[in-house]
């Protein structure tokens, strides 16, 4: 396996190495803003990217922030996260924009409009900025 250059680049070999040659996360549930939380500390011999993820997610950190900090494309980071999730080393807090009875019944909303109570919380937060 050839050594990869450090830092941000689009070297395909680096991407290939990081993911062990896999190309797609089999767990496709991660949103860009899914918040990741570590459930354990890195262990000796762990792949360095995965160890870095466990360190940076001691407090909740969005998928897109993890990608930015690792300087890897989002799709690659999702593959790494998928492995960590499968082995219980992280948990994922997915975005919730729909609440209320329809969401609880699992109905698909007529359009993508978020729940008014969530929007009200957002407005309060923005006005307090």
């Amino acid at each position: 396996m050839s050594a990869a250059r450090p830092g941000r680049d689009d070297d395909p070999d680096r991407l290939y190495t990081v993911t062990g040659g896999r190309s797609r996360a089999h767990n496709d549930s991660f949103d860009l803003v899914t918040l990741i939380v570590s459930e354990c500390e890195p262990t000796a011999g762990m792949q360095s990217e995965q160890a870095a993820i466990l360190r940076m997610c001691r407090l909740p950190t969005a998928v897109v922030e993890v990608a930015s900090d690792l300087r890897l494309p989002v799709s690659i980071v999702k593959i790494l996260l998928s492995d960590l999730l499968d082995t219980g080393r992280i948990t994922a807090r997915h975005p919730q924009t729909m609440r209320g009875p329809a969401a609880r019944r699992g109905e698909v909303p007529a359009a993508r409009l978020p729940d008014p109570t969530i929007l009200e919380q957002v407005l309060v937060g923005l006005r307090n900025l």
């Binding site: 395909p12 190309s23 918040l35 300087r71 494309p73 799709s75 924009t97 957002v122 900025l129």
Partner: protein, 207 residues
């Protein structure tokens, strides 16, 4: 497994204020517009953190990178985008994404728009045509949006003229903005969320 990045390459988070341990819901708003229209400026004005940058890699077919062989053959496209973050309360965090408006980046937007609350189309009235494509995509995708006219000084168009030039529905709000001002950028976001709230409660009233 081989280590492919050095520790120093992942030093980013230390410099940034972390989220509270109770943060559980990440929400998204997308700011879209042509090059140089002020997207990054707006995100920076309201963000709690210095804007970050990341990238998404897509094959030319726009399928995501589900075929690494195409990445290896360098037939993939990489597009970078900026984002910032606002903690709204102990549980809720709003992420703001600045997305380039050019047609060739449509695949990125379709990803960003997925699950987004809504979008701000940032326009420069001297180059309104640069936002046509973005507005088409938003309408097609069913993502609610408002138009924010970033004031670069030479702005003599009325809201009606802008509405006509952009062929906007009458209920799409048009607001003025100075992306360099935190207060003005904040008002743009409030205008978007009020619009979303209006749409969302109108829906509930008409079963």
């Amino acid at each position: 497994m081989d280590s492919v990045i050095s520790e120093s390459a992942v030093s980013g988070p230390a410099e940034r204020k972390p989220l509270s341990s109770s943060a559980e819901n990440g929400l998204k708003i997308v700011v879209v517009g042509g090059f140089g229209v002020g997207k990054t400026t707006l995100v920076r004005s309201v963000s709690d953190i210095r804007p970050l940058n990341t990238e998404e890699t897509m094959t030319q077919a726009g399928q995501g990178i589900d075929d690494l062989s195409s990445v290896r053959q360098k037939t993939s496209t990489t597009v970078a985008f900026d984002f910032g973050r606002i903690s709204l309360n102990e549980q809720t965090v709003l992420y703001l994404f600045g997305a380039p408006g050019q047609q060739r980046f449509w695949f990125l937007w379709d990803r960003l728009f997925q699950g987004t609350l809504g979008a701000v189309v940032l326009v420069d009235t001297r180059r309104l045509d640069e936002s046509w494509y973005a507005i088409d995509r938003l309408e097609h995708h069913g993502t609610p949006f408002i138009v924010a006219r970033n004031d670069f000084g030479a702005d003599s168009y009325s809201a009606d003229q802008i509405r006509e030039a952009l062929d906007l529905d009458p209920d799409v709000p048009i607001v003025a903005c100075d992306a360099r001002s935190r207060e003005s950028s904040k008002q743009v976001l409030i205008a978007l969320v009020e619009h979303l709230h209006h749409l969302s409660t109108a829906r509930e009233r008409t079963p």
